[in-house]
Structure formats: C-alpha cells, structure tokens
C-alpha cells in the first residue's frame, strides 16, 4: 500500500484574521503539495477498484465509475483454485516468514543494541549489505540450488529467501527500538533476581512490542509483495503466491484480457495489508516506555 497520509494544514492558521500574505502562500503551497501526493497515491487504487467491478465488455469504456457494477470478477477468481490456493500460500508463507524473522531479528537486534562483542560492526555492515543486495541476481543460483536440494516449489523454498531479506530489515528496525529502552531496566530486573532470559522476556520484550509490531508489518509487506522469488522459485499451485499467480490468470477466451480478474485479485490482496496497518496503528505509535525513568 502506498497511501500516504500527510498531516493536513491546521485550519486555525487560515482562519486567523491577522494571517499575513506569507502565511497564506505557505498554506497554499502545503495544500497543493498535500493534494498532489494524496491524488497520486489514491487514484491508482481507486482505478483498480473501479476496474474490478466492471464487466469485461465495459473495461475499455473510459468511465472512472463503472456503468454496470458486477461481482463477476471476484466470483471468477474465487472460483478457481489458481487464486484460492495461491492466497493460502501467500498467507501461510508470509506469516511464517514474518514470525521467524521477528523472532530471530529481535534476539539479534538485542545483541547488537546491548552487547559488546567482537565483529559487531562487521555483522551490522553485513546485514546492511544483504538488505541492499539485488534480489534478481540470486534467482538463478537459488533456482539451481533449490532444485538440487528439493526445495524448489515448496514453502520453505520461499520462506528462506524471504528471511534473508526480512532479517536485516528486522535487525535494523528492532535495534533502534532496543536502544531506546533504558538499560537500567534490565539491570534492575537482574538485581531483582531475573535470569538474562527472564529479563528479556518479562521486561525488555513487552517494552519492545511496538517495535516488534512495526517490524512485523514491514517484513510481512515485504514478503507479501514479492514477485521475483515467487515467480522464479515456484512452478505449481503447491507454493505459488498471489503476485505470481496473477501472472497466470487467463481471460474468458484466448483473446480476452483478464484485466477484471487481475484488478479483483489485486484488491483482495491489498485488504490484509490495510487491516494489518489499521489494527496495529495505535501500537506502532506508542509511548510505552514513558514513565520508566525520571520524567
């Protein structure tokens, strides 16, 4: 999802009778910029929504609002195992990858943020290196390797490369969160009789929860949106995810374009992301550590 919400200019400013001309021109500039950003982000989404409700015949009719509404496209995609199975694969693979990435990244990030150990900067640099590695260059070697190892066209075959790119992202985001947590809390827990593991689970992890949720969302979106690995490392319904499956959609006849179905599928796979963000929005913006130390 690329919908960006920009804070709207405060109305109070415009209403102020003493508003000077510079104030007004600034307000105008901000309003213009905001409007452009919102329009640019929202129009493709609305367009997709519109296409998904059009009948195949009315798709090229150049009306933004459909003349004839139909649910045919949605019925169509849910009627084929190509899409339903792919949806199941997408959900399963993305959730497992996210869970593993957050679990492993939180431990790694904790170590990076809190412990002094030799080779730490190398490790962090390496993580950064991996996260900017061009994914496409891995496709060929992985394709061959996975076929040798029997991982081709399996869930782990996708989960592993997703972890490779999800972990650096997670380690980076989470170590920033862990650094924010006062170290005294951990010392206090240790003096209170906690083992390092208990201190982490009972004190540090609950406080890092907003960070973990943020990381989970980021990693989930990354896995959910992937096309390169999904199209290259799968060959059947067994593990093909939705972005890849959409490429296999076919029209009603050999000559019809499956635009309606593609639009419907795109709308469907956007929904979990929207729900995910809406549901956890409040946790992401959290001041949970307030009050830990002198305030």
């Amino acid at each position: 999802m690329s919908t960006v919400t920009v804070p709207a200019p405060r109305a109070g400013r415009a209403a102020r009778p003493t508003g000077s001309s510079t104030d007004n021109s600034r307000l105008l500039a901000w309003t213009t910029v905001n409007t452009v950003i919102i329009v640019v982000s929202i129009v493709p989404v609305l367009w997709l929504l519109s296409l998904s409700f059009k009948t195949p015949a009315s798709i090229p009719d150049s009306h933004f609002i459909p003349r004839h509404w139909t649910l045919e496209n949605y019925r169509g995609i849910f009627g084929t195992s190509l899409f339903t199975r792919a949806l199941l694969n997408s959900i399963g693979i993305a959730l497992i990858s996210t869970f593993l990435a957050v679990l492993l990244a939180s431990m790694a990030a904790y170590a990076v943020a809190r412990l002094r150990f030799p080779g730490k900067t190398v490790l962090v640099g390496f993580a950064l290196l991996i996260s900017v590695f061009p994914q496409i260059s891995l496709v060929n070697p992985l394709f061959n390797l996975w076929r040798e190892l029997g991982l081709f066209d399996t869930w782990p075959g996708l989960i592993i490369p997703y972890l490779t790119f999800g972990l650096p992202l997670g380690i980076y985001t989470l170590s920033a969160f862990f650094r924010e947590i006062p170290w005294d809390l951990e010392k206090a827990a240790q003096v209170d009789g906690a083992t390092p593991y208990q201190a982490f689970v009972k004190v540090i992890a609950p406080l890092a929860a907003p960070g973990m949720v943020t990381t989970a969302i980021l990693v989930f979106i990354q896995c959910w949106n992937d096309f390169v690995f999904a199209i290259s490392l799968t060959s059947t319904n067994r593990s093909r995810t939705v972005p890849a499956a959409i490429a296999f959609f076919s029209g009603a006849s050999q000559f019809a374009q499956p635009i309606g179905s593609i639009a419907a599928a795109a709308v469907i796979i956007t929904i979990p992301i929207i729900l995910f963000v809406l549901f956890f929005q409040r946790r992401i913006v959290a001041g949970l550590t307030s009050g830990a130390v002198k305030g």
Partner: protein, 391 residues
C-alpha cells in the same frame, strides 16, 4: 543482613582504563556506608561490582563471608535503587514491587502481604494500581525504594537515589531514607556526589577520587581530620579555603600574619627544610568577626584587617568574601575539585577566601573589617603529596 568486604578490588575496562583501583572496604553488618566523590571517581562502578552488574577484574568481594565474585546479580540477594529508578513502565506499582518476589516464586498471598506492608511504610497504598507514568517524581522514587525493601535482602545498594528530586523533596526524602535504614537495620551502600548527603546519612563515608579511596571514616573524622587536601576540599560547605604559607624559624608566615603553630605541628614540620612552601587550609566557619570574639578565645587566634568584597546574608549567618592578594595556592587535586564544581573558569575563584560570620556581624560590602581566625583549627598540607601534615 550481612557484611560486605571489598578486598583489594580493581576494575579494569576492556580499553585498559582503570575505573576502580585497589579498593578495600570493610562494611559491617547493618552499617550505612556512603561512597562519595566527584563524577568519574569510580563510586558507581564500585556499587555495580557489589551488585554484580560489573565484573571484578582483580580482588575479592565477600558478602556475608561468602566470595561472590562469580555470582550473577540474582544470586547475590541484594536490592538496588537506581538513579533513574528503572521502574518497569508496563507494570503497575504493585507488580513493580512484587516482581522480585514473583521471580522468587513466592505464593501470591505472601507477595500481597509483603507489598501491602511496604506500600504502607512508604505511603504508596493509594497508588498500587497505577502505572509509573502516572506518578510524580517523589512517588516513583518511593516505588523504587519499595521494590528494594519488599525483598528483605542482605543489603541495599543505592545509586544516587535522590539526585532526580527537587531540592526540598530531596532533603525530606533524605530523612526518610535515614529513618528507613534505622528501622530495617539492613546494610546499606549508598552512592552520591553530594557531600552534604554523605555527611548527613552515613555511619561511615568513603571519599573516592580517580578510582581510589582517599579516606574511609565517620563524617566527623572526615571533617575534623581529613587525610589529604582532596578530602579537606571536598568535605564541608562552603569548601575549605586554601592559601600559600611558608614555614620559617618555627613559625608559619601567612598572608594575614605570622602564626605559632602548636608544638605537635612544629615537631611534624621540623623535619622539612626551613623556608618551605606549604598549603594552609582554613574552613570558612573558623573565621569570625573580631568584634564578636572576646577574651581568652581571642588569644587563641589571629586578628587581621581586610576588606569585604561580597557579603551574602543567609539569615542564620553571613558569608563574607575577600582576597589577600598575592599568590594563590595551587594543587592538582584542588583544581580537579574546582573543575567538578564547574568553578574552574569563574573569575577570581582562585584566590577568593570565604568566611562564615555570625549573623550579628556588622560586616558590610566594600568596607574594612577586622576578622579573627582560629589558629587551632588550621590544616597544613604538603603541596607535593597533598597529605595533611597536621594529623
């Protein structure tokens, strides 16, 4: 309850920096001991080593007769109050205070009893279900104390627990801490950089500088018989005045006249070369307005004229600032103290002398006055070693 013994303890960090250098302290069972010193003197590191939060590089730490060098903090049975309080923000006051007991797997009803009792002692009963974010600074501080006392540990460790409170609350809480320690009778090690806190709270005080204990003694002893120029300058408020003095022909030549030191001091100084430069230390409270000193007492001191530059009237007494002109007594340790107090760059800070006069004194700013100084209560320091030559 237990005694704590630091036996030649040294802390060396990975980068080779020595934070604590061969510290030996014998803290008795039930004693209230203060570690005091300027920032960076190693007092907090020492405390962290007792808590087990820092490894000990060399030496031995014994709590209750048992060597605990290798024990994790959780196995040492000590409680600690942090400067930042370190309350768990996601837990209520009750859960914060009961956390250690819960980890120790105490039955829930016992935890409740103990937490309720501690809350009663500390006046926290109405706040038990609140989160730390909804408490005032003083309440948070008390929760931090509560978290320590519910456990009934072998010893309490406190790391500048009052430094985040405002001045009035700090004095009030200081009294509470003292009362609490008397009531519980638990060994307590308390770290502060505030010498007033150290003197008022401690049974014994260890003054530290650059990782070394300068003197470990009762507050009275530190005040009356400081071992060296650092302790002398650190203990007491306002700080002791230092000025150059020459020892010549059995007499001390000072900026305000010659003094005949006591026979004991003379015999100590006799060994050193005649005409040697030394440092004289006089506490502000050992000056007095000569007009207010009478009879026999007056003969025990020296009276000299001076001009008051600045006069601060505090109601109960007056602080008169004046200068002798001439040279300034310099010593590396004194400069370190001045730096720590942020006074190093203050104009005229070096050779200014402060006298604490009785409120009845008629001293006025810019006017001449005769001041009397009690020569029996003077300190003579060796400018090379900083040692107090008069003890």
């Amino acid at each position: 309850m237990a005694d704590i013994v630091l036996d030649h303890v040294t802390k060396r960090f990975a980068d080779g920096q020595v934070a604590v250098d061969d510290v030996s302290l014998d803290i008795h069972d039930g004693e209230f001991v203060i570690l005091v010193g300027p920032s960076g003197c190693g007092k907090s590191t020492t405390l962290n080593m007792i808590a087990g939060l820092e490894d000990i590089s060399e030496g031995e730490l014994r709590i209750g007769g048992k060597v605990v060098n290798g024990l994790a903090p959780k196995d040492r049975d000590i409680a600690m109050v942090f400067q930042s309080y370190a309350l768990y923000p996601h837990m209520t006051v009750r859960d914060n205070m009961g956390f250690a007991l819960k980890l120790a797997k105490l039955p829930a009803d016992q935890i409740k009893t103990k937490v309720d009792e501690a809350a009663r002692i500390l006046d926290l009963v109405p706040y038990l279900d609140r989160k730390p974010a909804n408490l005032s600074g003083g309440q948070r501080q008390r929760v931090a104390m509560g978290r320590a006392i519910v456990r009934d540990p072998k010893a309490f460790l406190m790391d500048e627990p009052l430094s985040n409170l405002d001045a009035k609350l700090r004095v009030q809480t200081r009294t509470e801490v003292s009362r609490l320690q008397n009531r519980l009778g638990t060994t307590m090690v308390y770290v502060t950089h505030d010498q007033t806190e150290a003197l008022t709270l401690g049974d014994r005080v260890a003054v530290m500088r650059s990782g070394r204990v300068q003197q470990f003694a009762s507050p009275e002893e530190l005040y009356d018989r400081p071992k060296n120029i650092f302790v002398a300058g650190f203990i007491g408020s306002p700080a002791m005045n230092f000025m150059p003095v020459t020892f010549e022909g059995g007499r001390l030549r000072t900026a305000f006249g010659d003094i005949s030191p006591s026979p004991a001091v003379v015999s100590k100084l006799a060994g050193s070369a005649d005409g040697r430069s030394l440092i004289l230390g006089i506490r502000p409270e050992h000056f007095e307005d000569a007009a207010l000193v009478t009879g026999a007492e007056k003969a025990d001191g020296v009276t000299f004229p001076t001009t008051v530059d600045v006069l601060e009237s505090l109601g109960a007494d007056k602080f008169a600032y004046f200068t002798f002109g001439g040279e300034v007594a310099r010593h590396a340790e004194l400069e370190e103290l001045a730096r720590d107090a942020g006074a190093a760059d203050a104009a005229g800070g070096g050779d200014q002398v402060v006298a604490r006069l009785d409120a009845a004194s008629g001293a006025r700013e810019g006017e001449k006055i005769d001041l009397w100084v009690d020569t029996a209560k003077m300190y003579i320091f060796d400018p090379d070693t900083g040692a107090n030559l008069a003890v």
